[in-house]
Amino acid sequence: MSIILDESSRIVVQGITGKEGQFHTTQMVEYGTKVVAGVTPGKEGQKVKGIPVFNSVQKAIENEGANVSILFVPPPYAADGIMESAAAGVAWIICITEGIPIQDLIKVKAFLKDTHSKLIGPNSPGVISPGKSKAGIMPGYIHKEGTIGIMSRSGTLTYEAVDQIVEEGYGQSTAIGIGGDPIIGTSYKELLDYFEKDNQTEAVFMIGEIGGNAEEEAALWAKKHFSKPLVAFIAGQTAPPAKRMGHAGAIISNGKGKASDKIKCLQEAGICVVNNPAIMGKTLHEVLNQRR
């Protein structure tokens, strides 16, 4: 097994007729993903690379049995698209869209509480279970099927980590970009729970960065509930304090969010933290070696 995606995942692409949607649909199909439907309101009846387009997610589900949606929908319409998918009942919603207003996301989070759907992202490169299915924009070929779960807030840094890990001879069970926005769907902590229960996953690599306290929450949870090796890297040790929110923002987060605090918290929870991004793969290998 893997998490979120496997061979049986049936993907519906929201925004399939857009430039991004078309391009990545092709890429996903080439990777072997079962893209069964697309959605663009008003374009029902069209086809993109032979894939039928519907006016609504509900119709895509009724007609093609889609159970995962991926969004390449422009920011003004993306929150609505997420909620449409959730109301229609897909299991996972993967939102690639970057730049969704934060007030929209606050409403999305409230809306999702009354549904059974889980959201990945927004501002995520997507999810890949190598060898099985890819719902995202990551280059599929750098990945390899295997035993390492990867979760990250970043895109290209994840590719770097994947590359290093493959270099050491390991593949991935599932690699997930959880999204770079301040408010996102599924957290590291929740994903750890999935990885814990997943047979294929033997260890997890977490790529964090400054801001928020998602890494700390994951660490505290992992200390109690996660039995597999967990290795982490936190980007942003040299980054200046976030300019965006000013001082009030720093208070509301209780002064959390600094890389040094995160690293300390993770280490206290017994997690191995890599301090040089060039040896992410190597460190993981060492940790796994020690355990054997």
Partner: protein
């Protein structure tokens, strides 16, 4: 997007949040005229810059005659103000706000902002108005109240009672401050703000509330639905480099180091800065060129780095995914035709078509230092900056 105090106060007026009487001026003459129209015997002249920390830097002055107002305006206008929150080059004052003097009974702090951890908006109140809220948080945390706002309910009566209890308000004052917070929250959500701050919020001797200061930051991602706010944008107050970056859609933050870097993706950009530091260098900036990596974008990025005299070497670190490295290489070659680079340039192109990229770069007549791994790239850039 940050806006000036006087602009924020215009929006406050739209939402019936009480502010002192006043007006702006861009010349000493205008300032005198504003003061004369206001009347009274006390005036506050406030430099309009986007950064905080104005007060300590001498950007807010109290005077007593229209004559003094004109003189103070003369002093401030055109001057560059350096505060604890500006960059070292400071911010130029182009406008002053002149307001009536207010007789103050009590000063409070009030703000609404988004709490990413709670995934909700929150209101923050403190008894300690006019002070740096971060300082209060570290010294007098019990003087701060934070209440999360549920999107389905808005600010609830029990939360208003909590505010009143902290601020020790009378029933009448509680009612008034409750309405003020409702208005503030309405402004915040309707205009997609990420921070609205009143510091100080004062209770006047006449027992009514007044926003003595006003600070609003908007969510850039939501500006598309607030065309009316775009006229508030003050490109003039930005650094030349920051302006170029914004126009080119680059995410750029200048720092004090000597190794410039240009990377695709924010996470990898931060990791690149970290590894420069790890190998003994000092990153000069954060610069994320995003996913597209068009020739023009790359050119602008290099131009920004080259124009920073502190930078002694540049590291370009690109992990090609959907964006092919050979395309990026062509972009760099093309870009370097229009930008003159006198400092060492370390390039690492990894991922899709990286081999083709390397051969393209080698074939070009330009001089680079090529690197394969992240550590190699960082080491080479740090070494190059030292020579």
């Amino acid at each position: 997007m940050k806006i000036h105090e006087y602009q924020a106060k215009l929006l406050f007026q739209d939402y019936h949040i009480p502010i002192p009487r006043g007006n702006i001026a861009q010349t000493p003459e205008e300032a005198r005229s504003v003061a004369e129209t206001l009347g009274g015997d006390t005036f506050v002249v406030k430099a309009q810059i986007l950064a905080g920390g104005r007060g300590q830097a001498g950007g807010v002055r109290i005077v007593h005659t229209p004559e003094e107002v004109a003189k103070t305006a003369q002093d401030l206008l055109g001057k560059t103000l350096i505060t604890s929150q500006t960059s070292s080059s400071g911010e130029k004052i182009q406008t002053v706000l002149i307001e009536e003097g207010i007789k103050i009974q009590k000063e409070f702090y009030a703000s609404i902002l988004t709490d990413r951890s709670a995934e909700k908006n929150a209101l923050m109140v403190s008894t300690e108005g006019g002070m740096d809220i971060e300082k209060i948080a570290s010294t007098l945390p019990e003087k701060i109240l934070i209440e999360h706002i549920h999107p389905a309910t808005g600010i609830l009566p029990f939360q208003k009672r909590k505010i009143a209890s902290l601020l020790r308000l009378s029933k009448q004052e509680t009612q008034e401050v409750g309405e003020l917070f409702d208005a503030l929250y309405l402004l915040f959500t309707e205009l997609d703000a990420s921070l609205v701050e009143i510091n100080p919020l004062v209770l006047t001797k006449k027992a009514s509330f007044l926003a003595l200061d006003a600070k609003i930051t908007f969510d850039d991602n939501a500006l598309y639905r607030h065309q009316e706010l775009l006229s508030f944008r003050d490109i003039q107050s930005l650094d030349e480099s920051e302006r170029i970056a914004r126009e080119a859609g680059l995410s750029y933050i200048p720092l004090d180091g000597n190794v410039g870097c240009m990377v695709n993706g924010a996470g990898l950009a931060m990791a690149t800065m970290d590894i420069i530091k790890y190998y003994g260098g000092n990153p000069a900036n954060f610069l994320d060129i995003g996913g597209g990596a068009r020739v023009e974008t790359i050119a602008k990025g290099i131009q920004i780095l080259v124009s920073d005299p502190k930078i002694k070497a540049i590291l370009i670190n690109i992990f090609g995914g959907i964006v092919r490295c050979d395309r990026v290489a062509l972009g760099i070659i093309e870009a370097l035709k229009s930008v003159d680079v006198h400092i060492p340039l370390v390039i690492r192109l990894k991922g899709t078509n990286s081999k083709e990229a390397a051969s393209l770069l080698e074939k070009s007549s330009l001089s680079f230092i090529l690197a394969d791994t992240l550590s190699e790239a960082a080491k080479k850039a740090v070494a190059a900056a030292k020579t």
